[in-house]
């Protein structure tokens, strides 16, 4: 560990997002306000007004433009940042696809919120799920400190020459965006140092005036296939890269998160709860209690959602007796929650064990201790060969 101790402040998840961006010295920032993200846009504006942040700040007229602005600036060579949530995320959908297709290393934080359809200003991971086919890297974090640390790691990942992909850092809106915790804000020079390895890499292609070069050209037939193939291969490379960067971050700053997934008390565990986001924190506490009661339960926290960390999940879950997956969102057209549905793709590799899908915490509802206890009890029973229910909408049964 080389980094000096940073400043500890009690700030909200949103403020953490803003600080996380700021210490990475983005050069072009564009954002449009939306609950529960607005505070980020405001704070970055304030940083700029106070001369603390030396960036172009573009007050765009909508999210679609926010993404286009940072995409283009990134292609021109800038380090860029933006932030959104829900309605904003789905309104920039075409731009999201373009950004990953152009291989622009944009970093965005997304404060998870329910998507339009049924109007709601409330927490839920549906927006993240809605963007799973955009070709972005998607990471989910659990608490405020992780928002900050992951934002820094996101730059190191996105701008890596072997990756060149946009990265979305997701955190639960409301539950984290407004949660004030004590957070250590690293010194900006230490962040410079951590991101310095990027400078040793070959330069990525940039759009330069006066040079006969064009970006976003038509990929014709095999040109198209090639570009898509490279995109998919880069996503494959992301998996190990996430582990490596997490380790490097730990070595340097003294905090690390397990990379693609985190295993919590999985050693000797017979059953596993798979969770992501802020709910993972609560799951930890219940795992501890249940362990004390003698239940051999562990938790796997999904940190990387895109690309889906298939290999590490298989490794972590192989040999277990049953799994419960908690989803804070829906997978339309399937009975299971989306993370559960994707996990089941690996069922053949994991073994034909019970995988129980739980849908909970939609629309600001709590994923609380009794809910998680229930999950563990049911998964435990299933592990012992008892009959079980494949899918449970917890709130509908209360």
């Amino acid at each position: 560990m080389k980094a000096k101790k940073g400043q500890v402040r009690v700030i909200t998840g949103n403020a953490v997002g803003a600080y996380g961006a700021m210490v990475c010295r983005p050069e072009v920032v564009a954002a449009y306000p939306i609950t529960p993200q607005s505070e980020i846009a405001e704070l970055l504006s304030q940083f700029k007004a106070d001369g603390v942040l030396d960036a172009e700040y573009v007050e765009v007229e909508g999210e679609n433009s926010a993404m286009n602005v940072v995409l283009a600036a990134s292609i021109a060579g800038a380090r860029v940042f933006t932030a959104t949530s829900s309605y904003g995320l789905v309104f920039m959908y075409d731009a999201l696809q373009e950004t990953s297709g152009f291989r622009a290393p944009v970093v965005m934080v997304n404060a998870n919120r329910e998507t339009p359809g049924i109007h709601a200003v409330s927490s839920g991971q549906q927006d993240m799920i809605s963007a799973r086919d955009t070709g972005w890297v998607q990471i989910v974090v659990e608490n405020d400190q992780e928002i900050l640390d992951q934002t820094i790691m996101a730059y190191r990942l996105a701008e890596d020459y072997d990756i060149q992909l946009p990265v979305m850092v997701n955190y639960d809106g409301f539950y984290l965006s407004y949660l004030a915790e004590a957070v250590e804000i690293p010194n900006i020079e230490d962040v410079d140092e951590f991101l310095a390895p990027l400078k040793q890499q070959p330069e990525r292609q940039k759009l330069v005036p006066g040079v006969s070069i064009g970006c976003g050209t038509h990929g014709m037939e095999m040109g198209y296939v090639e570009a898509r193939y490279k995109h998919c291969m880069a996503l494959e490379r992301v998996k190990n890269k996430v582990d490596e960067i997490d380790k490097a971050f730990g070595d340097y700053f003294g905090r690390s998160y397990g990379g693609q997934i985190e295993e919590y008390r999985t050693e000797g565990a017979e059953i596993i709860v798979l969770a992501s986001g802020s709910a993972a924190g609560t799951v930890r506490t219940v795992v501890d209690t249940k362990r004390e009661e003698g239940v051999k339960v562990g938790m796997v926290k999904l940190r990387l959602f895109r690309p889906f960390p298939a290999e590490r999940l298989i490794k972590a879950l192989k040999g277990k007796k049953a799994i419960g997956v908690i989803d804070r969102s829906l997978c339309f057209g399937w009975k299971y929650g989306p993370i559960c549905m994707e996990l089941k793709t690996l069922a053949v590799n994991i073994g034909a064990i019970p995988i129980l899908s739980y849908i909970d915490g939609l629309a600001n509802l709590d994923i609380n201790v009794p809910h998680i206890e229930r999950v563990i009890d049911e998964v435990n029973a299933a592990a012992q060969g008892k009959p079980y229910q494949e899918v449970t909408w917890i709130p509908m049964e209360e």
Binding site: Q164, S212, G216, M222, E226
Partner: protein, 98 residues
């Protein structure tokens, strides 16, 4: 997987570069008529060259000449020439030339 495909792009994403490959169509073949200049009438004002959409008129010092590789035969030069120095002649009449 046995990848037989040879990369088209050097970059990760799709970048083009006219220095590497300047795309160019044989637009001369679109022509059904060809501009024919009466040099006597021409006063070298250059309006034909200015208005020519593909900008294919070459400055010949004291008159302009369409580059037949690219001239699409639209007839604008003939219409716009203030001296009516250009006439559009059906390509059929030049069939033997090539």
């Amino acid at each position: 997987m046995v990848i037989k495909h040879k990369n088209i792009f050097k970059t990760e994403s799709a970048w083009s570069n006219a220095d590497e490959k300047l795309l160019c169509l044989d637009t001369g073949s679109w022509r059904t008529e060809r501009p024919v200049l009466d040099k006597e009438k021409c006063n070298y004002c250059g309006l034909c060259a200015l208005y020519c959409p593909p900008q294919c008129m070459k400055d010949m010092g004291d008159y302009f000449e369409a580059d037949l590789a690219f001239c699409k035969g639209c007839g604008i030069c003939a219409t716009e020439c203030p001296r009516k120095a250009i006439t559009m002649v059906p390509e059929g009449e030049f069939a033997d030339e090539g």
